[in-house]
Amino acid sequence: MFAVRQLVHAYAGKDVLRVDEWLADQGAQWLMLGPSGSGKTTLLHVLAGILRPTAGQVSVADQDLMALPPSALDRFRGKHIGIVLQRLHLIDSLTVLNNLLLAQYLAGEPQDATRVRDVLASLDLGDKTNAYPHALSHGQAQRVAVARAVVNRPKLLLADEPTSNLDDTRCMQVLDLLLAQARTCGATLVIATHDQRIKSRVPNHYELTAQRHESRAVT
């Protein structure tokens, strides 16, 4: 589904990320593991098409991201890639409903309030449709962020440290949520994390190591 080969990203003259090869099938569920500073977020951004690596090949859903002109890449990202950011970053000035409609609008998809309500209902947010983000609990906000990421039925769903700072129960709830939503969309799921609690729940692991900028796949 996605393929990363010979990827190198340098920042300020130093290599911060190096990936020899990472292949994933459509619908597969992956953990991207590694201590902080190992380049997890950087790799996630590369997969999301919001960062062009210094060198290497990245293709998502049979599309070579490096070959896409900038505006086509924006469009591709909006349509096919969903991201749940670590800090969620909901748009505070917009209601929950409008946060999701915004995702459809910016992806160039038709705005479908029915679809938005369905997604919100599936995440148990049916009564929060017209709430503003500041009125939500952290758990609710996280679910809205997941809803925003999946509203366009992405082929690739990315999540950056979704379980950090959560207690064990919450942690498992969020994980279940991501797994379930990815399954519903048929999306390939990649969770970047250093949370050891969820290791056993996700079949595929990809480990980044900080020290030597080397990496290996463990299946």
Binding site: T42, H89, I91, N98, Q104, Y105, R148
Partner: protein, 403 residues
């Protein structure tokens, strides 16, 4: 969900700041519009009132006062001119038309103008009721005079001496309303108009004339006086001959409406320019304020912008979003300013009407107002340019990695 709704949501989220910006811009625009409407209308009305009058002949004094008193009826006359000399000028070959005018009395602030039927014809006066005066003491009143004084057809009233309300009433001879004019947007609207003989009749007691029905013949020519003559030239050459002839050969003076009104406008113009400058400063500060607001908001919004990019927004979309926000602010401020400007003009018009001055109304649209709106829109867009450019250059990965 589109650029407009997103912009609106952001403007709403910063409602106090938005309000301040809109208010600043609206005040600037309103001031410009007020000046525009007032000067346009005053200019138009003054031109219209002076149309077809090439020269005014009155008693010696300030030429501007002669024009203001005999064309616009805003000032007191400089004095009277002898009937025989005026007649001589009226018969001059350079004169095509001469309308005599005898002033001096008023009714409840509306000036009573003794003249000929030519005066009504000159302004294409149309009657709403009644007809022209035929004998002494019959008067025709303007629409505004009728509305303000409540005089109706057939009503009798006493004029008072002097142009204010303070003068002694001429108790002996009441005027009677023979006609009421339609509103024509000219000086006639706020006058009481009658024959020259009617005005003379008011002063007949001093001449010990009992029967005023034939006063023109009863009075000796030496006793007759006009206040002014409104002259229309027979040919362009008259402009070179007549003023000099009058000024050199009589105790009267000739004043040119075109020249005097131009002079008047150049005097008023200074005040208008100062106000306009003040208004432009307001609009400029509004622009600066919009710029600062958008620029500061960028800091709070840098994550929002980065997130929008991850959701598929192109850099151009963010640029347009910011420009749109500036434009939206400007247009709201601009439209509000236009409304406020019209309301203020209408309010000013009421004040002026109450003071018997040239009236203006807020119920007109001047084409230049489109330019004022365009100016406001331009200010909004220019204020948003730099913030928009920074939004365009948003570094998504860098911003998100930091937050």
């Amino acid at each position: 969900m589109n650029l407009a709704t997103i912009s609106l949501a952001y403007l709403k989220a910063r409602s106090l700041n938005t309000l301040l910006n809109i208010l600043l811009l609206a005040l600037g625009v309103a001031t410009i519009v007020l000046l525009l409407l007032a000067t346009t209308q005053i200019d138009q009305r003054m031109r219209r009132d002076a149309q077809g009058i090439d020269l005014v002949i009155g008693a010696k004094g300030s030429p501007m006062q002669v024009i203001l008193s005999s064309i616009y009826h805003l000032d007191v006359p400089t004095g009277n001119i002898p009937y025989k000399q005026a007649l001589e000028i009226a018969k001059h070959r350079a004169v095509k038309k001469a309308i005599p005018m005898a002033l001096g009395d008023a009714y409840k602030g509306a000036r009573i103008v003794g003249t000929t039927h030519d005066y009504l014809a000159h302004y294409d006066a149309k009657f709403a009721a009644g007809k022209r005066w035929e004998k002494p003491l019959e008067v025709v009143i303007g629409a505004e005079t009728a509305a303000r004084t409540g005089l109706k057809l057939g009503d009798k009233f006493h004029g008072s001496h002097g142009l204010g309300d303070a003068g002694d009433a001429h108790e002996a001879h009441p005027y009677v309303v023979a006609g009421i004019l339609e509103r024509g947007g000219t000086v006639l609207d706020r006058l009481v108009i009658c024959s020259v003989e009617s005005v003379w009749a008011m002063h007949a007691e001093h001449l010990e004339i009992k029967d005023i029905s034939d006063i023109a013949n009863a009075m000796k020519d030496e006793e007759k006086e006009y206040t002014a003559l409104l002259i229309q030239y027979a040919s362009p050459i008259a402009a070179a001959i007549l003023p000099r002839y009058v000024n050199n050969n009589s105790a009267m003076q000739a004043a040119s409406p075109a020249y005097e009104t131009a002079r008047l406008f150049s005097i008023i113009g200074v005040g208008v320019d100062v106000l306009r400058g003040f208004a432009l400063v307001l609009v400029f500060s509004a622009g600066l304020s919009v710029f600062i607001a958008l620029y500061n908001a960028l800091n709070e919004r840098r994550y929002d912008l980065a997130v929008m990019r991850t959701l598929g927004a192109r850099p151009l979309t963010l640029l347009l979003l910011l420009l749109f926000e500036g434009l939206l602010l400007a247009l709201i401020g601009g439209v509000l300013g236009l409304a406020l400007g019209h309301a203020l003009t209408e309010f000013l018009g009421h004040a002026l009407r109450a003071a018997q001055q040239i009236s203006v109304t807020g119920w007109i649209w001047v084409r230049a107002e489109w330019w004022v709106l365009a100016l406001a829109a331009g200010v909004g867009i220019i204020a948003a340019l730099i913030p928009a450019w920074r939004a365009y250059r948003t570094d998504i990965a860098g911003t998100l990695a930091r937050g």
